[in-house]
């Protein structure tokens, strides 16, 4: 292992600094020298990982797919959050639109999140195509390209999608289920105006990516210490609540297949 393990993190919000100072303290307490490096966007972080500036990248699923492509599949993955597994996208529709299923979307105004958001743009467009609706031909799409470069982390574009469907600007739209569940719990969904009509198959979201498969062994101790973080310990809970997880888990790579297909299908990196 290097003297100080450098983890790249995209600063999508000021709280990222608080989270990662906490994680750094946690590793220090476990006698592992770790530091974090902030990036303003995932492309820069991916470059830094491949150039060896950082050792580990805390990546979105899309950033991971990009690293995978650029390393010809030789990259490795250390861990992910419990909430990164079984992630889904939802299609929500205006309650008065009569839209009951994907078939009913044909010819409608459809809202999508940032063009580099896996959950609110890339995967929904792919799943719609799989289900017989080609967004380019069958829908009038309304795109909220906000915070591009941050892969939808800020959630601002999903707020706009929900808003557009609620007000009728769009007949329907796509969002990630994490934002949807939070919006429900935080009482910002008007159930009389908007409802979910379809849920995608589950897929995986973020992970800790390393340049090479061999690095998974090199960073075994780092990964073991991360996985030992305990939500029932107050200091750990503070960090985990901010980062949106209850447990760190080992990677489940099956969950990225859909996104690989989607970026190919949409020729996203071309």
């Amino acid at each position: 292992m290097p003297d100080v393990i450098k983890v790249g993190v995209v600063a999508y919000d000021p709280k990222v600094v608080t989270i990662w100072e906490g994680i750094k303290d946690y590793f220090t307490a476990n006698r592992i020298a770790m530091d974090f490096v902030l990036f303003s966007n995932y492309d820069a972080q991916v470059d830094a990982l491949l150039d060896g500036w950082i050792d580990i990248a805390w990546n979105t699923n899309l950033a991971y797919v990009k690293v995978h492509r650029r390393t010809d599949g030789r990259c490795g993955v250390l861990a992910m959050r419990d909430t990164d597994v079984g992630f889904t996208s939802k299609i929500i529709a205006g309650a008065e639109t009569g839209i009951e299923s994907i078939r009913d979307l044909k010819g409608k105004r459809f809202a999508l999140g940032s063009r580099d958001s896996g959950q609110a743009a890339i995967l929904p467009a792919y799943f719609l195509k799989q289900n017989g609706i080609d967004p380019a031909k069958d829908l009038t799409t309304i795109r909220f390209d906000l915070d591009v470069g941050k892969h939808g982390d800020t959630g601002t574009s999903e707020v706009e999608v929900l808003n557009a469907v609620t007000t009728g600007e769009a007949h329907a739209g796509a969002i990630g289920d994490q934002y949807w569940a939070r919006a429900l719990a935080e009482n910002v969904v008007h159930s009389s105006k908007v409802r979910p009509i379809w849920t995608s198959p589950g897929y995986c979201h973020c992970n800790f990516t390393v340049r090479a498969k061999e690095d998974e062994q090199r960073f075994t101790r780092w990964t073991d210490v991360l996985l030992a973080m305990d939500y029932n310990k107050p200091a750990d809970r503070k960090i985990m609540d901010m980062e949106g997880l209850k447990r760190w888990i080992r990677p489940q790579m099956d969950g990225y297949r859909a996104l690989f297909e989607a970026v190919d299908d949409l020729q996203f990196f071309n």
Binding site: T83, W180, A181, V189, H190, P196, N232, R237, R247
Partner: protein, 418 residues
């Protein structure tokens, strides 16, 4: 797929956005990790909403099956704790309410009745008996020991205090004031100025300690807050009396200020309480009785009477509190002795009471400055000093000082009274 549901709720058509998540959360609270909650519903959105919510909350989503033309959704409770607490909550005990009164003495129920030897800094502002989450920050209260802060009778004195509150604007017969002989009015105004400055110390000293005593000893904190309230009212009526009858506020002496500052500077709660309430306010009881007895009009008389009743409560609380502390701390008596001698040496430059106050005491008892009546005023004041000394000795003996030591300590008490 078969399920073994522990509990089932009928959610009818309630949507996740309209309160169903609260219903589900409360139902899951009653289950153990691994137990299953069934939600029977007619709302078609739930099969989209509940899997996402379950994932976020770390519960296991088991899926949806049709049931009698409706849908049955199942969630297995996860193992994470919503709140990091290590014990069960109290439930099911009713307080004893007599004749419509819930007396503060009767609130010792369940965990609220457990008075610890040492309060936990991280219990912070949680009321005693609440289950406090692990990870709550440590508060910097510095009076944490039961021996320092607890008093068996604080709740009783608190009840007396709340029942005895009065209104300084209305309960004093202000309209009964008539112009007085100028020298007599001046004497009263000087005494009121002196009383008000002393009561400022009697307000600030407990106020300072309230902020430093752990809320675990709630009864003590609540009682001290009534003491602060009492002193605020006393300051109010003393100042109002000085202003009410054409006179005005008079002199404040450097020696009085020095004496009062030494009380505020005390850094030990029991010692501060001893010096302020047992010795200072104790001495004030005789002063207020003197003013009541010699007041030439009903306003000053009523002010002295009402404030003396309040002060009596403060003295009794402090005596009781210190007796309790003395029982469990064998070294405390020596510390209290030391506190008096330390204060006496600190105030060695204070040779006597503010002379303007001393004269005012004579003029008040004499009913004015007439040469014929001044001897009776001088006699009354001498008698007051003797009574103050005797009563201080009596109080010191009552908390366990031997007669001779009590007498010596009483003599060391500041000539400023407070």
């Amino acid at each position: 797929m078969t399920f073994n549901s522990s509990t089932s709720i009928d959610a009818q058509n309630l949507s996740a956005a309209d309160g169903l998540l609260v219903l589900i959360t409360r139902a899951l609270d009653k289950l153990k990790p691994g137990e299953v909650l069934e939600i029977v519903s007619d709302n078609p959105s739930l099969e989209h909403d509940l899997p996402a919510w379950s994932r976020l909350m770390a519960h296991r989503w088991l899926g949806t099956i049709p049931k009698d033309g409706r849908r049955s959704h199942r969630i297995e409770k996860g193992s994470v704790l919503r709140v990091l607490i290590d014990r069960e909550l109290d439930w099911g005990q009713r307080a004893g309410i007599k004749d419509g009164r819930f007396d503060t003495r009767d609130w010792l129920l369940g965990h609220a009745a457990q008075i610890r030897e040492r309060a936990e800094p991280s219990d912070g502002f949680a009321p005693r008996g609440a289950a406090v989450e692990r990870g709550s920050p440590d508060f910097s209260f510095d009076v944490l020991d039961r021996n320092q802060a607890w008093s068996e009778s604080a709740a009783e004195f608190y009840e007396q205090a709340t029942a005895g509150h009065w209104d300084g604007s209305r309960d004093i017969p202000w309209s009964a004031l008539r112009p007085l002989d100028e020298e007599l009015e001046r004497a009263i105004c000087q005494l009121m100025t002196f009383l008000a400055e002393n009561e400022y110390s009697a307000l600030y000293v407990p106020a300072k300690w309230i902020a430093r005593i752990h809320p675990h000893f709630a009864e003590t904190v609540l009682f001290l807050s009534t003491q602060v309230r009492d002193e605020a009212r006393h300051i109010e009526v003393f100042v109002k009396r000085a202003l009410a009858n054409g006179g005005g506020l008079q002199f404040s002496s450097a020696s009085t200020q020095a004496s009062l500052k030494s009380l505020l500077d005390q850094e030990d709660f029991i010692q501060a309480s001893f010096l302020l309430s047992v010795l200072g306010e104790g001495t004030f009881l005789d002063l207020l009785r003197y003013i009541e007895a010699h007041a030439p009009e009903p306003v000053t008389r009523e002010i002295a009477r009402r404030t003396r009743i309040d002060e009596t409560r403060h003295v009794h609380f402090a005596l009781d509190h210190i007796r309790h502390a003395l029982r469990s701390d064998g070294t405390l008596k020596a510390k209290l002795h030391q506190a008096i001698t330390d204060r006496a040496s600190l105030l060695s430059g204070v040779k006597g009471l503010n002379p303007l106050v001393e004269e005012s005491l004579v003029i008040l008892a004499a009913g004015g400055l007439s040469s014929g009546r001044l001897p009776s005023g001088m006699k009354a004041r001498r008698q007051l000093y003797e009574t103050m000394h005797e009563n201080r000795i009596r109080r010191l003996i009552s908390i366990g000082f031997p007669d001779r030591e009590a007498e010596d300590l009483s003599e060391l008490h500041t000539p400023n009274f407070m």
